[in-house]
């Protein structure tokens, strides 16, 4: 949890006297939490494999935050920042019910342009956003179940990697200005993103992840 401190420190770095609310030129630092829920459409694992070996990737929640720069009173650039999400990869299809095959960490590096409706100091500001996500996948740690299913043993374990990928993102959200410099934010982000998993035993699997990220946070305007 040292990382959380680093995150907070990072937000603190940008502390400076600035404009009120969310007017042009404001930088808003935000802390909260995000849940990412991949809506996986899995392809079949390539041979050698059981016919129709597929996967699902489970949801994950994590402390998160972000920085928003108000280009104008209505247009914002938003950069979510967060700790990596840890997702369970489980077997489905021909290997349904085998349980966890791996944990994989994801870091959806995201940059969004937003349009915030209403006046800069309006108490409720709905917004829409669009942007790009670079899904970085790392730290995949396979289980003994995956190793056994692919014929490996503890001395020859099977490992997994997932390809980093770009995706397009669309967002809707709502900001509540809480007075003073504080605001609350709720947003839902849908990302279209495809990746390929590769096993050390040579098989590959394509999966459309298309996650939905739900974020709640409290912002502070500098």
């Amino acid at each position: 949890m040292k990382l959380q401190a680093i995150c907070l420190a990072a937000l603190g770095l940008v502390a400076a006297a600035g404009a009120q609310a969310q007017s042009a030129g404001t930088i808003i630092g935000r802390l909260g939490a995000t849940n990412i829920n991949p809506k996986v459409e899995s392809g079949d694992l390539s041979a050698p494999s059981l016919v129709h070996t597929t996967i699902d990737i489970k949801e994950a929640s994590q402390l998160s935050g972000g920085l928003t720069y108000m280009v104008s009173d209505n247009i914002a650039i938003d950069l979510p920042i967060g700790l990596a999400f840890k997702h369970k990869v489980i077997g489905t299809g021909a290997i349904a019910n085998v349980g966890k095959l791996a944990d994989v960490k994801s870091l959806p590096i995201t940059l969004l342009g937003q349009y915030r409706f209403g006046a800069a100091n309006a108490s409720l500001r709905p917004f829409v956003g669009a942007g790009a996500v670079y899904g970085r996948f790392f730290g995949a740690r396979s289980t003994m179940a995956l190793t056994g299913l692919t014929g490996g043993t503890p001395t020859t374990p099977t490992t997994m990697s997932m390809k980093n990928a770009f995706g397009a993102a669309g967002q809707v959200g709502l900001i509540a200005n809480l007075g003073s410099r504080f605001s609350a934010e709720f947003s839902v982000l849908k990302v279209k993103l495809k990746t390929t998993g590769t096993l050390s035993t040579g098989q590959t699997i394509d999966a459309r992840l298309d996650p939905v990220a739900v974020h709640v946070g409290v912002g502070y305007s500098y």
Binding site: K2, L3, I6, C7, A10, A47, P48, S49, L50, V51, L67, I77, L79, P80, I81, G82, L83, A84, G91, I95, N97, V98, G99, D103, K105, L107, I109, L111, R136, F138, G139, A140, R141, S142, T143, M144, A145, L146, T147, G148, L149, T150, G151, T153, P154, T155, P157, T158, T159
Partner: protein, 375 residues
């Protein structure tokens, strides 16, 4: 330009923040259940060296049969509990060996004192009781099915004497007599009844000698479709040559039906017992033969080992002792130069898997164990 720099700086920071100290990756090789010993029962598929260390697959350093792979998954090893003395089976003087399987092992042995009978293997291990951290791996029935098919096919020569004798070991002689006298349909049906009774016997033996003796994790391989093996394909081909394709197909369906009768009964007997996982070897083996490429098999019909001669039954014989990895690599089939050619074959001889075939059995077992939450 300024803006791009600004963005990429923050992107780098965002990435940097998270990557710092995250680590992870690689493989967790700890199974979900703590298993301290893998205890194995069965036939040649699971015999890791009873017969002077010669195993029913390709010989070679580092080659692992499926029980060895399963044991390795749990960080342990197995060695053969019995040694063949030339005339009988004695306990291996090496202590701590827990693989009781013997090549030629059957569920239904005429002599209950012979450890070729899998029930005696189970009873021998079960006498000492099982620990909660034992994993039992049991295969059996392939040789029983082969015996039934052989007796059935031999009925035209011996008037059904051998078949009647075999059936009567598990079924009432009156029922057997009536069925055999009743014609082809009732004769075929009695085979199914025998296989059901065989499954009952297998179950009763596992129940009494393993489950009732404290075993908490039991993996049972169901009966593989022995008709898929090169040996039985040759038998079926000879039926086809003599009586036509329809007769061949009927015979294959009949034999598969018998095996299915065994497997259905085995599933029914163990249904609802959380201590037991029945791995569907039958379906897996059928799939491998039907779709070899899907399973990484380059050949699922020809034995990799060289034919040594012809047996009294007119079928090829093989010599496992000389069928080594080195010998196979040195003698690829005509037109092939890859020394690893045999590694994608399913069969070593006419009836037994290659090391890769063993790996596929291990993978099947792994799936069943993972579903149970044990691996």
């Amino acid at each position: 330009m300024m803006k791009m720099t600004f963005k990429s700086t923050w992107l780098a920071l965002a990435a940097g923040l998270v990557v710092v100290g995250c680590g992870g990756g690689g493989a967790d090789t700890t199974p979900r259940s703590k298993i301290s010993a893998v205890k194995v029962f069965g036939d040649s598929l699971a015999d890791v060296g009873t017969f002077g260390g010669v195993r029913a697959t390709v010989q070679g350093t580092g080659i692992q049969m499926y029980p060895e792979l399963v044991a390795a998954a749990f960080g342990t090893t197995v060695c053969n509990f019995y040694v063949f003395t030339g005339t009988t089976f004695a306990a291996n003087p090496k202590a701590g060996c827990t693989d009781y399987a013997i090549g030629g092992g059957v569920i239904n042995h005429s002599n209950p004192a012979n450890p070729l009978g899998i029930p005696l293997q189970l009873a021998t291990a079960g006498a000492a009781g099982f620990s909660a951290t034992d994993l039992l791996v049991i295969d059996g029935g392939g040789n029983d099915a082969a015996a039934l098919v052989t007796a059935y096919l031999g009925a035209t020569k011996d008037g059904g004497a051998a078949l009647a004798a075999l059936l009567s070991t598990l079924l009432p002689p009156a029922q057997v007599g009536a069925a055999l006298a009743g014609g082809a349909t009732t004769t075929a049906a009695i085979g199914g009844a025998y296989m059901q009774a065989l499954a009952d016997k297998f179950y009763a033996s596992i129940k009494a000698n393993a489950l009732d003796k404290g075993a908490q994790q039991v993996l049972v391989l169901n009966m593989p479709g022995i008709t898929n093996t090169p040996r039985f394909q040759m038998v079926l081909n000879s039926i086809g040559a003599a009586a036509g394709a329809t007769a061949r197909a009927q015979s294959e369906a009949l034999f598969k039906g018998w095996i299915s009768a065994f497997n259905t009964q085995l599933d029914a007997k163990f249904a609802g017992d959380s201590r037991v996982a029945v791995a569907d070897f039958y379906t897996a083996f059928n799939d491998q033969v039907a779709m070899p490429a899907q399973f990484g098999l380059s050949n699922a019909s020809t034995p990799a080992c060289p034919i040594k001669g012809l047996g009294s039954d007119g079928l090829p014989t093989y010599d496992f002792a000389t069928c080594t990895a080195t010998a196979l690599s040195a003698a690829p089939p005509t037109g092939v130069s890859d020394p690893n050619w045999w590694k994608g074959y399913a069969f070593s001889d006419g009836f037994h898997p290659t090391p890769y075939g063993h790996q596929l059995v291990y993978q099947l077992i792994s799936k069943s164990l993972a579903i149970k939450g044990w691996l």
